[in-house]
Amino acid sequence: MTEERKNKDDGQATGSPTSSKQSNDSSTREIVIPGEVIGEGDLLPGEGTEKRDGKIVAVRYGLKESDSKLIKVIPLSGVYQPRRGNIVIGKVEMLTFNGWVIDIGIGENAFLSVAEVPRYVNKNDLGEVMDLGDMAVAKIWGINARGIDLSLKSRGLGKIEEGMIVEINPSKVPRVIGKEGSMISMIKEETDCQITVGHNGFVWIKGDEIENELLAKKAIEFIARKSFVSGLTDEVKKFFEEEKK
């Protein structure tokens, strides 16, 4: 089952947040519901849809998006679907003899092996690196029958020392990141904070002033709330203008 999912996912997403293909053309967006016929004819059924008796039917609640070939449903809600290459933020739930079990907010646990930590780790004292309840930014490098494997071997990964965590629905993550990362860059610039967006819906914000962190938090929550609005970038610009008055 897990194996199957992995293959499917690899075909659908590259895992990079900036490659999100979400269209900016929101004028044609319509919210559809499960079981609703959303297309006919030669269109290909994409994510969140299936073909039934020659018709394309939505199997998720979300935004209908189509081009000349493909029709799909972009979810507005739902649980995180792990994909290889995703950045996730999680909490240490258990220490084992060779690594950490990390809760990334879904049904299955993720495992970070000692071998995936880019520094010397004293196996007798894993808690010195990360202890129960600590939070970390990690990358999914493998999904298999045993579960999800995490790694810290990349820039920007590791234990979270301070700042704040904001939780949004994972379906809103592409909007928070924006096209080519444009949205998140704007928030970083406006708030002077470092921000890491986990694909699992956890966002880590760190700034010099708590006020700045709170402004970033507010902006992210604003985007999550308005995720199906067209012209979101302008809305967010307005949001910052209002906030800075």
């Binding site: 909490k91 907010g105 309840g133 600590d134 939070m135 979270i160 020392e161 301070e162 700042g163 704040m164 965590i165 939780e167 708590i210 962190e213 709170l214």
Partner: protein
């Protein structure tokens, strides 16, 4: 979600500067809205919202035997259910301590303040009296259920009417419209809670804030008189702080009572 440790540190650090995440002052309440008459089969009912925290309270009445030590007085029964619907932290199954405590704290503020005039709820001395049931349900938990439940109980009781009791048949006749209001004291009691976080005292915490509080003090107050109290959670409170808390709660109760009275008009 369970509040992450680093968020707790941030909340605390900000509090030390006298500030809260949502911009409120330390003792400031969130927006309070009260709606009564939300369930037509109840004798009285209310929905209370404090920001994102929401509770429903319903009042039912039944006729039963009085307790031997109060043969001419009605009875009160308060229960609280933390519905799994209202938070992923609440599970189905037997009641857990927080719901039991919520029911008991609310029971005491209503009972000890003599809000309900039980002597007027006697049908036949030693044989038949009214029992007033106050049932509290959580709908969305974003902190401070204690105060929301107390306000909800008062509002539901204020809206309650006594059903028609058919003495001959020995049962309540719901077909007959009831006009008689539940006998209550003119002044309303209030159960208000102050939360200690580090060396700061705050009121009406969000879930995130309540998760960090070390101790809390709930006072049941009616017209400036304290008639019930609960000190909760693990930490100790020094007596000087306690005095400040009493003053704060008394002051605050005046403000909240006004708000309730205004919205019940």
């Amino acid at each position: 979600m369970i509040t992450p440790e680093i968020n707790k540190e941030r909340v605390m650090k900000y509090l030390q500067e006298g500030k809260r995440f949502d911009g409120r002052k330390l003792e400031e309440f969130r927006e309070l809205t009260i709606e009564t008459g939300i369930s037509k089969n109840a004798e009285g009912s209310a929905k209370v919202k404090l920001g994102n925290t929401e509770v429903y309270v319903g009042v039912k009445m039944a006729v039963g035997e009085p307790y031997p030590d109060s043969p001419d007085k009605g009875n009160l029964m308060v229960t609280a259910e933390f519905l799994p619907l209202s938070s992923d932290r609440f599970e189905s199954g037997p009641p857990q301590f927080p719901s039991i405590e919520l029911g008991r704290v609310t029971d005491r503020v209503l009972r000890e303040s003599h809000f309900i005039e039980f002597e007027k709820l006697c049908i036949k001395k030693g044989e038949k009296v009214w029992t007033v049931f106050v049932d509290i349900y959580t709908i969305n938990d974003d902190g401070n259920l204690l105060d929301a439940a107390g306000i909800g109980a008062v509002a539901a009781l204020k809206s309650a009417k006594i059903p028609f009791y058919d003495g001959k048949e020995g049962k309540i006749d719901y077909e007959k419209e009831s006009k008689e209001k539940l006998p209550l004291s003119k002044d309303i009691p209030l159960s208000l809670t102050a939360y200690k976080m580090g060396d700061k005292i705050i009121m009406d915490p969000t879930r995130e804030e309540e998760d960090i509080s070390d101790a809390r003090v709930t006072l049941g107050i009616k017209s400036g008189v304290v008639s019930s109290m609960q000190k909760g959670l693990n930490d100790k409170i020094n007596v000087e702080d306690l005095g400040k808390i009493f003053d704060l709660l008394e002051e605050k109760s005046k403000e909240i009572v006004l708000k309730i009275e205004k919205s019940l008009k």
